[in-house]
């Protein structure tokens, strides 16, 4: 039984079904990556896990409990965090306030978590009083991930965290994500940069038109000649 899983999900945003029976799951301390061509429903699959679209069929369960009926807010309260692809920081608030907002639902003292996050992303400690809107793209992505971590989630979902950042920043972000995994958080991520993402992935899902085409460990997928030919450019 996986930690967070969506099984045989079918659904879309009202019109035609985007997901046509796909299964995604992730375990504790593991990085799972969803890759695939444009329009395959990668982000949609992730949003389905978060409850942002109505599924016609399929169940989402978390820690062995069926959460299909919960609203996104309730799922977040259960311990799932989500970093959207764009508009993922509060631009008019300081870095520190962004982190505070991440901990909005927590009643306990989150000073310790902030210290951990600063350790993970040292640049944020330096920029804590700066407005998030004034930071560079890569720094904003760090704020976004850090904000999500502030709720001490059991699962962290990232929607294309490296979209629009330079290759150097991308490598650094992946390093950070590996470090986050060390803290025991389950990480589920949608990525355009399939090759790099599969390198750090424990497991990968290759989605094509809303269905699972390949599901295996990251290394196995990288080694699979068909996957290489069709999705990784040889």
């Amino acid at each position: 039984m996986s930690f967070l899983s969506g099984v045989d999900m079918i659904g879309g945003y009202g019109g035609a079904d985007i997901l046509k029976g796909c299964t995604i799951d992730v375990n504790e301390g593991e990085i799972a990556v969803i890759v695939g061509p444009n329009g395959a429903g990668k982000s949609t699959a992730m949003k389905a896990l978060l409850g942002m679209l109505d599924l016609k069929q399929g169940d989402v369960s978390f820690r062995g409990k069926d959460i299909s009926a919960l609203t996104p807010q309730d799922r977040i309260a259960e311990g799932i965090a989500f970093v959207p692809q764009t508009n993922n920081v509060f631009t008019s608030m300081t870095v520190y306030e962004n982190l505070e907002m991440g901990a909005f639902l927590r009643d306990d003292d989150f000073g310790g978590t902030i210290e951990q996050v600063y350790e993970l992303f040292p640049i944020l400690a330096d920029k804590r009083d700066q407005l998030a809107g004034e930071l560079s793209g890569g720094q904003r992505q760090q704020v976004a991930v850090a904000r999500a971590l502030m709720s001490q989630p059991a699962v962290l979902m990232l929607d294309e965290p490296t979209a629009g950042v330079s290759p150097i920043v991308m490598d650094e972000l992946f390093d950070r994500i590996l470090e986050v995994r060390e803290t025991g958080v389950a990480i589920l991520m949608v990525e355009q940069n399939a090759r790099q993402a599969l390198h750090i992935a424990d497991r990968g899902f290759v989605l094509v038109v809303g269905e699972n085409r390949h599901t295996d460990s990251g290394a196995a997928l990288l080694a699979d000649p068909e996957v290489r030919r069709s999705f990784l450019g040889g």
Binding site: P72, I76, P84, N87, F90, T91, M93, E100, F104, S151
Partner: protein, 340 residues
């Protein structure tokens, strides 16, 4: 020596007819514009009912003031209306919360476009206006009592020996003091409290705020409560300073909108700045400078006309022209507000 006295006289003149009225009117506008800008930031629509919300709150305050006055209750030198304010605020909160539950919430949950909200707010405006006129009538009402002046023009003349007097009305002094207190409280609330930060986050990025667990209904509720407090106080202060007439409050909508947009809509600091910019422009453009120049210039150069740029009837034109200028030159407002 005479030149110095003349200069001081001119200064007092400007102080008396431009600075003091500008400060108090600006504070009233700022409080009103704050309400508009908060509603805009959180609910994302221009609230046409805000002027009538002010009128409603002021009306309740006036009724309670009259009742208190009839019971012989008063605050000595201060206007009795201050005692009645809490009642006005409470009923206005009730009004706004009920309109939200019955009108706006439906559209919010359907994620309707802002224009729909605006038209709905016109409906609310009609209804509120109807209630106010029905209860208190369309005419001018006065409800000020207590001391009229903090500084009396005659006393000032006697004390200073100047030929120009400076007078500060109690209502003007009160307006400025209360506005400062309210603004400080509001900013403390927005910057320091959990709910205030949730409001800012929601205004900045609604989706992300929801992902962070902010409860939208609660944020909206608090916004209406703050808007009600600000509107009632602004309306009552305006009524004490000038007079209360439902139609005037409807007309205040334009300078308040102008203030909010000029400062940068959705930005509270901008609303305050905009309030003073609009108020001072209005007062300065419509003031007749003849006497000031008589003091400042040698007798031979005495001005012939009133030296009034615009007649006071055109004060709305002033807010409008500034609004248009800002729209042309810098549509986001002086301090960057939202551009949706």
């Amino acid at each position: 020596m005479e030149a110095v006295t003349d200069f001081i006289n001119a200064l007092v003149l400007v102080l008396n007819f431009v600075v003091v009225p500008g400060l108090s009117y600006g504070s009233q506008l700022a409080l009103g514009a704050l309400g508009i800008t908060l509603v805009f930031g959180i609910l994302r629509f221009a609230n046409f009912a805000h002027g009538d919300t002010m009128a409603f709150g002021t009306m309740v305050t006036i009724l309670v003031t009259w009742w208190l006055q009839s019971k012989g209750v008063n605050l000595g030198p201060l206007p009795t209306a201050l005692l009645a304010l809490p009642a006005g605020i409470l009923l206005t909160i009730l009004l706004l919360v009920v309109t939200d539950k019955t009108v706006y919430r439906y559209y919010r949950h359907r994620r309707a476009v802002p224009v729909t909200f605006m038209i709905a707010s016109m409906g609310v405006m009609f209804m509120t206006n109807g209630i106010v006129r029905f209860v208190i009538g369309p005419n001018d009402q006065r409800f000020d009592d207590g001391e009229r002046f903090i500084v009396h023009a005659r006393d000032f003349k006697d004390l200073s020996g100047l030929s120009e007097g400076l007078s500060i009305k109690v209502s003007q002094g009160l307006t400025i003091v209360i506005a400062i207190i309210l603004v400080v409280l509001l900013f403390w609330f927005l910057q320091r409290t959990r709910t205030g930060k949730a409001m800012r986050a929601y205004s900045d990025n609604e989706d992300l705020a929801l992902l962070s667990g902010v409860d939208p209904d609660r944020v909206v509720l608090v916004t209406w409560i703050i808007a009600a407090i600000l509107a009632t106080i602004a309306g009552t202060l305006y009524g004490l300073d000038k007079s209360f007439k439902p139609f005037t409050y409807l007309q205040l909508l334009l300078p308040m909108f102008a203030a909010a947009i000029v400062g940068g809509i959705g930005n509270p600091v901008g609303a305050i700045l905009g309030g003073y910019v609009i108020a001072f422009s209005e007062v300065m453009v419509t003031y007749a400078y003849k006497k000031v120049f008589i003091y400042l210039l040698p007798q031979s150069l005495e001005p012939a006309g009133l030296l009034q740029l615009l007649s006071t009837d055109y004060k709305f034109a002033v807010s409008f022209v500034i609004l248009v200028l800002v729209l042309l030159v810098r549509p986001t407002g002086i301090l960057r507000g939202k551009v949706l």
